[in-house]
């Protein structure tokens, strides 16, 4: 285990979540015909947080919220060195004609989002899809995919690794930058 460099600490972290929630409220008003969809597994950590906070702020308890597993939709599942373990999909509604906010923790190559978009299409034809991420790694995108709402933009080298740590998993909310993936493990 090595120490990564903290790029967002606990206080800024909660401010960022707060800002993202308010941006969503500004954009979607009363969340009518709108649904939040978190991408399993790490995106769901963020979407859970945002969903709860939105209810706290707005008092709406009927915002539609689903969790989407994209393992079966990845185009690289047969080329990865480590096999992927699927998680559960919990989508008890269709996205047909709805405004969808897709939520993931880190946007990097864009391949996860691409897979999520094709997974989403199996639940109907959404009216629109917008993307919310906590971290946007600007460089090394493989696909023309951009976030509509972002917590922080990080310029990191390709071999570096950005990790979002959650208080309910690792004790403290923070975003860390590691020199490479190995040093994190």
């Amino acid at each position: 285990m090595n120490k990564g460099r903290i790029i967002i600490n606990k206080n800024r972290f909660s401010l960022t979540i707060e800002r993202l929630c308010h941006q969503l409220i500004e954009e979607f008003d009363d969340f009518e015909n709108t649904c939040l969809v978190g991408i399993q597994e790490r995106g769901v950590m963020l979407s859970d947080r945002i969903y709860k906070r939105l209810i706290d702020i707005t008092g709406f308890d009927d915002i539609q919220y689903g969790k989407l597993d994209i393992t079966f939709y990845r185009d690289d599942f047969r080329q990865r060195s480590k096999p992927l373990a699927p998680s559960h999909t919990e989508m008890n509604f269709l996205v047909e004609n709805k405004k969808v906010v897709l939520i993931d923790d880190v946007l990097y190559t864009g391949r996860t989002v691409q897979a999520a978009l094709s997974a989403l299409s199996d639940f109907g034809r959404p009216k629109s899809v917008e993307l919310l991420v906590l971290v946007d790694r600007r460089f090394n995108r493989h696909l023309p995919i951009q976030a509509d709402f972002k917590g922080i933009t990080v310029d990191a080298l390709d071999e570096e690794y950005v990790k979002v740590a959650w208080s309910n998993q690792s004790g403290e909310d923070q975003i860390l930058l590691y020199p490479d993936k190995k040093s994190m493990e």
Binding site: T71, F72, F77, P86, S118
Partner: protein
């Protein structure tokens, strides 16, 4: 995630060659596929670059449709082959037939064959993943997996649970695979049927034998009832079907005599009125149709997990 993330084997030839962790991994994955097949759009693109040949050298409805649906719901390309309409009739050997099909670039083979060990033989000669969909009287691994999966869905973890397998144990590949699978999951297994249809040395597998249906039913939590396989019986093993059904058929009055509810299973096809009466087959205790539903999810999980392994071999240049 706890447990393993990939299967320890390249082929699914039989439950005998699986580890308990493999079975758990298949169940965990099948749970996710069960969610997929209950969606309005029941299809995912995982295996879109894979071609699968279904080679059925023996008749089948359920297993074949189940495999084909599983393959299609994973977006694989599928070719079907049945012995009755093929060059096998003209005298081609198994290996020649399969090699010809493989030279058309097939990635996986699902095979049912009347000869026990046919998939093992193939696995020594060809490179692609092989899934045994039943080989003679030997094994039928996907059936055992879906049976155990369906049991766990109803009664929870099988550790310490009592399972009785009724019927034609001697000719049943389902029985053997079930025994291996249930024992690996910690269940206690007995078999029950006429002495002529119980293999002589079955106790060596750690399986109890009971010739009295009432006693077997009283002991078990789950009854898995198998079909009398007349097509494999070259001699008479019992006087008549009527007599068999009187002594070994499971009917409502037998179940009503029990002071508990047991789960009734049957891998199909059912011979109504022989090994199981209609009122039992259609009762609330019976999960025969759930078994069929779970069959697709289990087969999707197996295809998916074997495909994931294959790519790894390709990366290492194997």
């Amino acid at each position: 995630m706890a447990g393993i993330q990939q299967l320890s084997t390249k082929h699914l030839l039989g439950i005998k060659y699986l580890k308990t962790e493999d079975i758990r991994l298949i169940f965990d994955t099948a749970l996710n596929f069960k969610e997929v097949i209950n969606r309005p759009i029941k299809k995912v693109p995982s295996l879109r670059d894979i071609t699968i040949a279904n080679l059925f050298f023996e008749n089948s409805t359920r297993t074949r449709i189940s495999f084909e649906l599983a393959e299609k719901r994973l977006s694989a390309d599928v070719v079907n082959f049945s012995a009755s309409s093929s060059s096998v009739k003209k005298g081609e050997t198994l290996l020649d037939t399969v090699n010809n099909i493989l030279s058309m670039k097939v990635d996986m083979v699902v095979m049912r064959h009347p000869a026990p060990g046919a998939p093992h033989f193939l696995s020594q000669h060809i490179d692609v993943n092989i899934i045994n969909a039943g080989d003679g009287t030997h094994e039928h691994p996907t059936q055992a997996l879906l049976d155990a999966f369906s049991m766990e869905e109803k009664v929870g973890n099988l550790k310490g649970k009592h399972v009785a397998i009724f019927g034609d144990i001697l000719h049943s590949r389902v029985a053997l695979s079930n025994i291996f699978c249930l024992q690996k999951l910690g269940a206690k297994v007995i078999v029950c049927g006429p002495p002529t249809l119980i293999p002589k040395h079955i106790h060596k597998l750690g399986v109890g034998v009971e010739y009295d249906v009432k006693k077997a039913l009283a002991w078990c939590d789950i009854a898995n009832i198998l079909r009398i396989q007349l097509e494999r019986q070259d001699i008479k093993y019992f006087p008549s079907l009527r007599e068999y059904s009187q002594y070994f058929g499971i009917n409502k009055s037998l179940l009503q005599q029990l002071d508990k509810q047991i789960l009734i299973m049957h891998p199909g096809p059912i011979n109504r009125g022989v090994e199981i009466s209609s009122d039992v087959a259609d009762s609330d205790h019976s999960i025969i149709l759930q078994q069929v539903e779970n069959g697709v999810a289990i087969r999707m999980a197996i295809l998916f997990l074997l495909a994931a392994r294959k790519s790894e071999a390709r990366q290492q240049g194997l």
